[in-house]
């Protein structure tokens, strides 16, 4: 076989590329040409709210990551609900929270095993679409929980808490703790994190209320969900603003690092800290007086509702259309726009109740 010299190969490559570029310069498919056709929740058939709840279904839970304490608690909530309803629970999932390919193949496996429903926490809003649509085509009911896909790729989304609720309640929680007076700061994750910024938007809006006229937001710091950076950012905040009265950290990594810093500094008990955290991370800081109260949704209830939603879908009680209602464990839930079902207000954890939770 003839072997052209390196120089000749490079020249040929360059020529080929410029040709390709020239050919496609005027035409081609770009991001702007692609319309999102996944904007409406997938629905099929008519809902019969009085249909009998089916037994003997098999529902697969597919978390973002197996053996992650948060999902273990959520999925156990789902397992309990399914067992109680006379159905079968199984859990599969990748061991890494960024293994999108793994999640896709698990959806395929569940499709293959012909389960009746899938409850999935999507690592990525678009990547699972093809696989989930294929699952729905095979008659499988798909519910997302904790983390959604595009609405067209599932029947319903069980949302842990609305962004508005989370943002506003965190401000209320902190304002109470500091007596509605003083400087406060926010310790967020990445500057580009969409969910964080949505929450912070609602926090700022809540602060406009006259109730908080003596509360002043002086800075938003970014710890990039890195323990060490969040720790340093907390330290920086307190050096920069010695009169700081409180910090809101709407990220589990951030709040833990901030608690760690405050706990070991002279500010312990003087500067209030709240935000989103897990009871296991913050138990010792609640006990030693660094943190009064913080919040998060209860993942077990999230998994429970996801399981009940799958069963209601499979039983034909709902189809995922806005306005439909169904009973889950005594509570009536209404399906909102785009098939979103809200779990309800976040759970507040403090010294009184923290020992009842284990995640």
């Amino acid at each position: 076989m003839p072997k052209p010299s390196l120089r000749r190969t490079c020249a040929a490559l360059a020529a080929g590329t410029s040709l390709a570029l020239a050919l496609t310069a005027c035409s081609g498919t770009t991001k702007n040409d692609v319309k999102n056709d996944n904007n409406a929740a997938a629905t099929a058939g008519k809902a019969d709210p009085h249909a009998v709840t089916k037994k003997g279904l098999t529902v697969g839970f597919l978390p973002k990551q197996v053996n992650n304490p948060y999902f273990t608690v959520a999925d156990r909530g789902g397992e309990k609900a399914l067992t109680g309803l006379g159905s079968t629970y199984k859990e599969v999932g990748p061991s890494s929270a960024t293994d999108t390919a793994g999640q896709v193949s698990y959806v395929n496996t569940l499709t293959q095993q012909q389960v009746n429903g899938i409850a999935v926490s999507a690592q990525d809003p678009g990547a699972l679409c093809t696989a989930l649509k294929q699952a729905m085509k095979n008659g499988i009911k798909v519910v997302t929980y904790d983390s959604d896909t595009s609405p067209g790729c599932r029947n319903a989304f069980v949302s842990q808490a609305s962004a508005e609720d989370l943002g506003r309640t965190e401000v209320r929680l902190l304002a109470q703790q500091i007596g509605y007076r003083g400087e406060i700061a926010i310790l967020s994750a990445a500057q580009t994190a969409t969910n964080q910024n949505t929450w912070i938007g609602y926090m700022k809006d809540e602060l406009k209320d006259p109730t908080y006229r003596n509360v002043r937001l002086v800075k938003i710091a970014y710890g990039n969900d890195d323990a060490q950076q969040s720790f340093q950012q907390t330290q920086g905040l307190l050096q920069e603003h010695p009169d700081l009265k409180g910090i809101i950290s709407p990220t589990t990594v951030g709040i833990k690092a901030a608690a760690q810093y405050l706990s070991g500094s002279k500010y312990r008990g003087k500067v209030r800290l709240t935000g989103l955290g897990t009871p296991d991370d913050l138990r010792k800081y609640v006990k030693n007086g660094t943190v009064d109260a913080f919040e998060l949704w209860d993942p077990a209830r999230l998994g429970d509702l996801a399981a009940r939603t799958v069963v209601a879908l499979a039983s034909g009680q709902i189809t995922g259309r806005a306005g439909e209602t169904f009973q889950a464990d005594g509570t009536t839930y209404t399906i909102g726009k785009d098939g979103v079902i809200n779990l309800g207000k976040p759970t507040v954890f403090d010294a009184k109740n923290i020992d009842q939770f284990n995640f």
Binding site: G28, T29, K90, A190
Partner: protein
């Protein structure tokens, strides 16, 4: 033992037979294995490994290795996502990604052939470097909104058959690789280089240039795989295909390609790739956990390095007993 029988028990034949046995058993006993949809999942998930295994086989045959393939694939996917976000046409982006793969391969090849560094060390270095660049290019973004015609091609199948649409281009590439390795002087020269570089050089083979060409081909196929991966899983992220290099190396070694170079067939490599792929599919259907699947892959890798050596020892011993000291294969 007759000559033909000795040839028949070569390791790659054994792997091929194992694949056939596994498929037959699975068809018979594993629920949901035999239908067209599942087989298309199986082949679709295995294609990325198969695509890179083609040039990797040639590379290992001539005594080198490239561990940066998965990072190159990840980089190519990251660039695909970034340029797509920038609003460039996908018909332009894909050739650019492939060109980028060629450049990555060229860097590996030049470091190995011009500086005389061992390819294992060089490509462990570029494994980290290319992945790092991928992260700089795309950050922690996930780009998913590619045109549906491309997504459908990468994840769809031919009608209701079990063949993924992307399988046909693979067959063409496979045929090309088989012809190059087993039916051209260039292919023969790879075996010669792998067996003894010095001897090959004295025989007039341009060793460096041969190796450089293979590294470039590997880079090209890795970036092609990166593009396929991003479209197949509808997700361009910097950490796409992480760890794929181990699956490729495992599959190639399992297929009987000697890690020291000079021995192996593409048939064996492809059988190795699909044996691993089918095993993984069956284990998933049987609800074997991801962790246990990794253990099985690891054990297979060890067996595949040991197996051919043991097989060769036995052959050598048998031949030796028949007092013919020269024949060893």
């Amino acid at each position: 033992m007759s000559e033909s029988l000795t040839r028949a028990v070569r390791w790659d034949t054994v792997v091929g037979a194992l694949l056939v046995v596994l498929l037959l058993v699975s068809f018979g006993f594993v629920d949901g294995f035999g239908n067209a949809l599942n087989l298309s999942f199986l082949i679709g998930n295995t294609l990325p490994i198969a695509l890179i295994a083609l040039p990797m086989t040639l590379l290992v045959v001539c005594g080198e290795i490239d561990l940066s393939v998965a990072s190159t694939a990840g980089l190519s996917g990251a660039v695909l996502g970034r340029l797509w976000n920038e609003g460039m046409a996908i018909e332009t982006i894909i050739p650019l990604c492939l060109l980028l793969g060629v450049v990555c391969g060229l860097v590996n090849g030049l470091l190995v052939t011009r500086l005389g560094l061992p390819s294992l060390a060089v490509t462990i270095g570029t494994l980290a470097a290319y992945r790092g660049i991928a992260q700089i290019v795309l950050g922690s973004d996930a780009v998913t909104d590619f045109p549906s015609s491309y997504l459908d091609f990468a994840s769809g199948r031919l009608g209701t058959t079990f063949l993924p649409q992307a399988f046909l281009p693979f067959l063409v590439l496979l045929a090309l690789a088989v012809v190059v390795l087993h039916a051209t002087p260039f292919g023969r020269s790879l075996f010669a280089v792998g067996a003894s570089e010095e001897a090959a050089r004295f025989a007039g083979i341009r060793v460096r240039r041969t190796k450089l060409a293979l590294f470039v081909a590997t880079g090209f196929m890795s970036s092609l795989t990166g593009v396929f991966w991003a479209l197949h899983y509808a997700s361009a992220r910097y950490d796409n295909a992480t760890g794929l290099e181990l699956s490729v190396v495992a599959a190639v070694l399992l297929g009987g390609i000697d890690f020291d170079g000079g021995k192996g067939t593409l048939g064996g490599a492809v059988a190795g790739v699909f044996l691993l792929g089918a095993l993984q599919n069956v284990m998933s259907l049987l609800n074997v956990s991801a962790q246990s699947q990794t253990v099985v892959t690891g054990v297979l890798l060890v067996v595949s390095v040991l197996g051919p050596r043991v097989a060769r020892r036995i052959t050598v011993a048998r031949v030796g007993r028949r007092a013919s000291p020269t024949a060893t294969s």
